[in-house]
């Protein structure tokens, strides 16, 4: 009989870990709240830096874990500590005894309605990065005009913002904004595209190339200034106010579409899991790793492991690497018994 490993969260972290654990001879049980696997990635269109299809990635990963036990639309009701290992009770009535649990509960996208001043949900042409990806995926969105003359991207919406309750940098939004700016320019070659940023944080492989490409090939304008309020002109266009901090002047721009780069924030469900399994939560609301250098996938409880964005903001490749690392650590933990 194969040893059970409960994986909480069926996003790319959970899927990758399940794939590796299957390979190592375990019986992974993936618990996913939604009705599909792949989490946020499954809602995305293309992934930087190679513009690979997010759907293909999720599909391939899904094909490789068909042998795993996958419970969709299922939640964890509670986790009981046993003398050796844990008993995980699921909302579908199944309870699983296991020696190791992998938490891959991921992140939440910041709820942009909380930034009242940006008028998400108030103005007709304010959308988020996730809404835009959904549109790229071919779903209609009446908020996106047929031929916008100008499009603005607001970086750091709900991240690096104490007022939104998140002081951390969401890490991927700068690059996502550059990617989406380029994609928008490809859709609307005549549109002017502006990116309003506080600091550009383009640290990963090929990211800087994207930045250069956006400037050189697509003429995306980068404006260093955070948008502080969004209004409407008499003819119904959006009017944004920022300070062009490089020239030191207040700046106004009239836009036909404003895209808010909603940041990654901690998943409140992780706090619930932390309460059930007595895990430590960091000051930013994410789960606290055993060690931020050598033990990123470890927790403060034996047999409980982390992978992906439940411990902080992560890119997709980072998440996948952590998932593999966690699978290996779980293997060692179980074998070590």
């Amino acid at each position: 009989m194969k040893e059970n490993v409960v994986i909480i969260g069926g996003g790319v972290a959970g899927m990758e870990a399940a794939r590796q654990l299957l390979f190592l001879g375990y019986n992974p049980i993936v618990v996913e709240q939604q009705d599909h696997l792949g989490g946020h990635v499954s809602q995305w269109n293309r992934l930087f830096p190679d513009m690979a299809s997010a759907q293909d990635l999720v599909r391939h990963m899904g094909e490789e874990i068909v042998d795993a036990n996958i419970f969709l639309e299922t939640k964890v009701n509670f986790i009981n500590r046993l003398r050796e290992g844990y008993l995980v009770m699921l909302s579908n009535g199944v309870s699983v005894a296991c020696r190791a649990i992998l938490i891959a509960s991921g992140f939440r996208l910041f709820d942009a309605t909380r930034k009242e001043e940006y008028g998400y949900g108030v103005y007709d042409h304010v959308i988020t990065n996730a809404d835009l990806e959904n549109w790229f995926n071919g779903n209609a969105d009446s908020r996106i005009p047929a031929a916008p003359k100008s499009v603005g991207f607001v970086h750091c919406v709900g991240s690096r913002d104490l007022k939104a309750g998140n002081s951390q940098c969401s890490k991927v939004c700068c690059m996502t904004a550059v990617k989406q700016a380029i994609e928008m320019k490809e859709h609307f070659p005549d549109a002017r595209i502006y990116c309003f940023y506080m600091d550009l944080r383009l640290f990963g492989k090929k990211y800087e190339d994207f930045y250069i490409n956006a400037q050189q090939e697509h003429g995306v304008q980068f404006i260093r200034g955070r948008i502080s309020e969004v209004g409407e002109t008499l003819d119904g266009r959006l009017q944004v106010k920022a300070e062009d901090t490089l020239s030191g002047k207040p700046l106004r721009a009239q836009l036909d579409l404003l895209v808010l780069m909603a940041g990654m924030v901690c998943n409140p469900d992780a706090a619930e899991l932390a309460r059930m399994a007595r895990l430590e939560v960091d000051s930013d609301g994410f789960l606290r790793s055993a060690d931020n250098i050598a033990g990123i996938v470890g927790s403060n409880r034996p047999g409980i492991f982390y992978a992906g964005a439940c411990t902080g903001t992560k890119t997709v490749p980072e998440t996948l690497a952590e998932a593999r690392s966690a699978a290996l650590d779980i293997h060692r933990f179980i074998q070590g018994k």
Binding site: K163, E243, D244, T245, G248
Partner: protein
């Protein structure tokens, strides 16, 4: 010394080593959160007084760090508090401005 007959015009460069930052340090002792400004410009963008007289709290803080006179900008502030509302670093900007108005002499 021989005078070569021409003088170098005074450099417009900021000299950080010579900048008088005493006022900035004094402000920081009263409003320690002044140090956390990251210059995003939210305050200036939203400022009610800004369009009339160029008030920019970002520039005020920066100017103090560089030892410049920022009084002309301060005069226009109406203390409406919008900057306090939008500051992503949670700086108590109204208290900062009031402290600054007091310590200038």
């Amino acid at each position: 010394m021989t005078d070569f007959g021409f003088t170098l015009s005074r450099s417009s460069a900021l000299d950080l080593t010579k900048a008088d930052t005493r006022l900035y340090e004094r402000l920081c002792s009263l409003s320690p959160d002044a140090r956390t400004c990251m210059g995003c410009g939210s305050c200036s963008a939203t400022c009610t007084a800004g369009p009339y007289n160029g008030m920019s709290l970002r520039k005020v803080i920066l100017g103090l760090q560089r030892g410049q006179d920022v009084r002309p900008m301060l005069k226009g502030c109406m203390l409406c508090g919008k900057c306090t509302m939008v500051c992503p670093r949670g700086i108590n900007t109204r208290q900062l401005i009031l402290n600054l108005c007091r310590i200038y002499d």
